[in-house]
């Protein structure tokens, strides 16, 4: 900057604005990496400011993720959000060149070497199909790379590792130990990589959660997708350590049982969002060990405990948790005032549970009760009476719901904006007409086309942005 001034050329803004203001402007460019890069190259001063202030990076699949991680950490000392997605194709990251590794030559050999390392001999078929679908030229982020990141970015608040199949507990332990103010941890693994994971994470994943439980006391968000290796032991550690946890998402974590939920419920009392998806497979695993009846009781027990302890819960999603029944919802309705509830496919739930929720949660805005075989008009009537704020409801695949229930719902929930009701055999064109005419805010109706009368179509044409479908 000084040099620029000395040259006496016009320097409109550099001399007038202090560092903080430029950093402010860069902050508004956080969403555009190319713009920030352009700013960094403008002059020395901007370069150093940009580097010092960059807070988030996204890494795709690169030629050498570990080396890239090392360079990033050196370059950007204030990173607090790192997003690694190994699915992003290398096409998005043109011309990766690292000192001493010419990019174009040696693509195939390197890929093959990487595959050989990851155990082609055992699961050859899976690997070859995977590698074609993903990318052939990459070695993904390893524990070593993640350790470098965790040591270099101790201010890390948000870490997303999507499809990072080489990461094991070691890497995560290092994150837990070094990044003490970590607030959000998102781990997703592609389903088919399960086989691979078995190779890499031999019963080690609970160690990772235990490390996180003992070090990351500021964790607020934890998302575990398809991490089948986690068991109750790991989740118990989270419940004991992460007292500030607000968001917990568990998808396809097959070995988790109510023990986990009990620990989470009693430990993480500030929980506001809880999502447990596709854990019907736990039921299968459980059923092998115990009788069916006990496993159903166990299903309720965990949720009941959540209802008793987590008074701030506003968003609960229990999709396809076969063992959860009315008792769970009754307990939730006593303890929490939900704004959003998704119990899609929880077959055990009936009008009793839904009635309790409707009465206990008058602030309900979103409700997904699709695929509930035992849900009838009674529940809808109760929702209509007790939940005036409801905006969004999903009733699809509810065989017992009729036009009568729908009319109660439409009359009670004046703010309804979206109503999905395909595959409900007892809902007819009359019910659809009621919804469209009574709910003045309605914007989206998902229904079989043949159930929409000419009149409704004329009437609704102006408000229905999405009128479906050719079923």
């Amino acid at each position: 900057m000084a040099a620029a001034m000395r040259r006496g050329r016009r320097d409109l803004i550099n001399g007038m604005l202090p560092d903080e203001l430029l950093i402010d402007i860069f902050g508004h460019l956080e969403c555009s990496k190319s713009s920030r890069d352009a700013c960094a190259l403008v002059c020395h001063r901007w370069h150093s400011l940009e580097r010092a202030s960059r807070r988030s990076v996204r890494m795709g699949a690169s030629g050498n993720a570990d080396q890239l991680a090392r360079l990033l950490v050196d370059r950007f000392p204030s990173l607090c959000s790192i997003f690694v997605d190994e699915r992003l194709p290398a096409a998005l990251c043109p011309q990766i060149r690292f000192p001493g590794s010419p990019a174009s030559s040696g693509r195939k050999p390197r890929a093959r070497k990487a595959l050989a390392k990851s155990g082609t001999d055992v699961h050859g078929t899976v690997l070859s199909s995977e590698s074609e679908e993903m990318d052939s030229d990459r070695s993904s982020l390893s524990d070593a790379g993640l350790t470098v990141v965790s040591r270099g970015c101790q201010k890390l608040e948000k870490l997303s590792l999507i499809w990072c199949s080489s990461i094991t507990s070691l890497g995560l332990q290092s994150v837990a130990a070094n990044c003490s103010i970590l607030r959000s941890l998102d781990l997703q693994v592609y389903y088919l990589l399960y086989v691979l994971l078995e190779e890499f994470c031999i019963s080690a994943t609970d160690d990772a959660l235990e490390a996180i439980g003992s070090f990351s006391s500021s964790l607020e968000l934890l998302a575990l997708y398809s991490f089948q290796k986690f068991t109750d032991k790991g989740l118990t550690a989270i419940g004991e350590g992460c007292k500030r946890l607000k968001n917990l998402m568990l998808s396809d974590c097959y070995f988790l049982t109510d023990k986990s939920l009990l620990a989470i419920a009693s430990g993480c009392t500030e929980l506001t969002h809880l999502e447990i998806n596709g854990c019907h497979n736990i039921a299968v695993a459980e059923e092998v060990r115990s009788s069916m009846e006990t496993s159903f009781q166990i299903g309720d027990k965990g949720i009941i405990s959540v209802g008793e302890h987590c008074k701030r819960l506003v968003d609960l999603s229990l999709r396809f948790c076969d063992r959860v029944g009315d008792d769970a919802l009754v307990a939730i309705s006593r303890g929490c005032s939900l704004q959003s509830l998704n119990v899609s496919g929880c077959h055990k739930i009936t009008d009793v549970g839904l009635t309790a929720v409707a009465r206990g949660c008058p602030e309900l805005v979103f409700l997904d009760v699709s695929v509930l075989q035992n849900l009838s008009d009674m529940a809808l009537e109760e929702v209509g009476q007790s939940c005036p704020l409801l905006k969004d409801i999903v009733l699809s695949h509810c065989p017992q719901v009729t036009d009568t229930g729908l009319a109660h719902l439409a009359n009670g929930c004046a703010q309804l904006q979206s109503c999905q009701m395909v595959y409900c055999p007892h809902i007819t064109s009359a019910g659809v007409a009621t919804v469209v005419s009574v709910c003045t805010s309605i914007k989206k109706v998902l229904i079989e086309k043949w159930k929409v009368s000419q009149r409704t179509r004329r009437k609704g044409a102006s408000v229905l942005s999405f009128l479906c479908v050719d079923l």
């Binding site: 900057m1 040099a3 620029a4 040259r7 050329r9 016009r10 320097d11 409109l12 803004i13 550099n14 007038m16 604005l17 202090p18 203001l21 402010d24 402007i25 860069f26 902050g27 508004h28 460019l29 555009s32 990496k33 190319s34 713009s35 890069d37 352009a38 700013c39 960094a40 190259l41 403008v42 002059c43 020395h44 901007w46 370069h47 990076v57 996204r58 890494m59 795709g60 699949a61 690169s62 030629g63 890239l68 360079l71 990033l72 992003l88 290398a90 998005l92 990251c93 043109p94 011309q95 990766i96 060149r97």
Partner: protein, 203 residues
């Protein structure tokens, strides 16, 4: 410097009329319409503006001055021109209750002074005003940026920085230099090396 220095002749564009001048410095703060306390701000080119005291508190600089008891006479702001100050005063008025800065006021709450200032979400109208506020040419935007920086007003800073960021969004390096009138202080070798580094696989 920029086109902002156009002097008193631009007072025709003022949103707010200059306040009556010639009051003695020891008078208590004026009472504006509705009995609200007002203060008078005086630009570098001697234009005076009446501002609701609570609106002026959006600026940390003005707030410090007011708390130090400088709010009794016209407050001189020599590095702001009349047109710029007129725009800023109008923004303060529109941003009344804006959570972007009102939260900060609630923290420094004394004697229930800000009890009418419950933060509200910026309305569509305010957002529209903000857009309009910064749809000015480059030099005028820089004047506003400097004013925002001097006044330390969070709402004003947010609006102007956002506009500056929007302006350089998706620009090339050369375009950014041109826009900001920056001098390239890299040697060609340095710049080539840096450019190479930035062709990276993160995004």
């Amino acid at each position: 410097m920029s086109s902002g220095d156009s002097g008193p002749s631009s007072s025709k564009q003022l949103v707010q009329q200059p306040a009556a001048a010639g009051r003695s410095p020891n008078q208590p703060p004026l009472l504006g319409a509705g009995g609200r306390k007002v203060i008078v701000l005086k630009s570098g080119d001697e234009e005076e503006f009446e501002v609701d005291l609570l609106d002026a508190m959006q600026s940390r600089t003005l707030r410090r001055a007011i708390e130090d008891g400088c709010g009794d006479g016209p407050m001189p702001l020599p590095n702001l021109t009349g047109p710029v100050l007129a725009k800023v005063v109008e923004l303060f008025r529109r941003h009344r209750g804006d959570p972007r800065w009102a939260d900060e006021l609630q923290e420094t709450e004394k004697e229930g002074m800000f009890k009418d200032y419950a933060p509200q979400k910026p309305t569509a109208e305010v957002k529209g005003f903000d857009r309009e506020f910064v749809s000015v040419d480059r030099d005028a935007l820089f004047d506003l940026l400097r004013a925002a920086n001097f006044l330390e007003a969070p709402g004003l800073l947010d609006v102007t920085c956002d506009a500056a960021a929007d302006a350089v969004m998706n620009m090339t390096v050369e375009e950014v230099r041109e826009y900001f009138g920056l001098v390239n202080d890299y040697t060609p070798e340095e710049e080539a090396a840096l450019r190479k580094q930035h062709e990276w696989a993160f995004q």
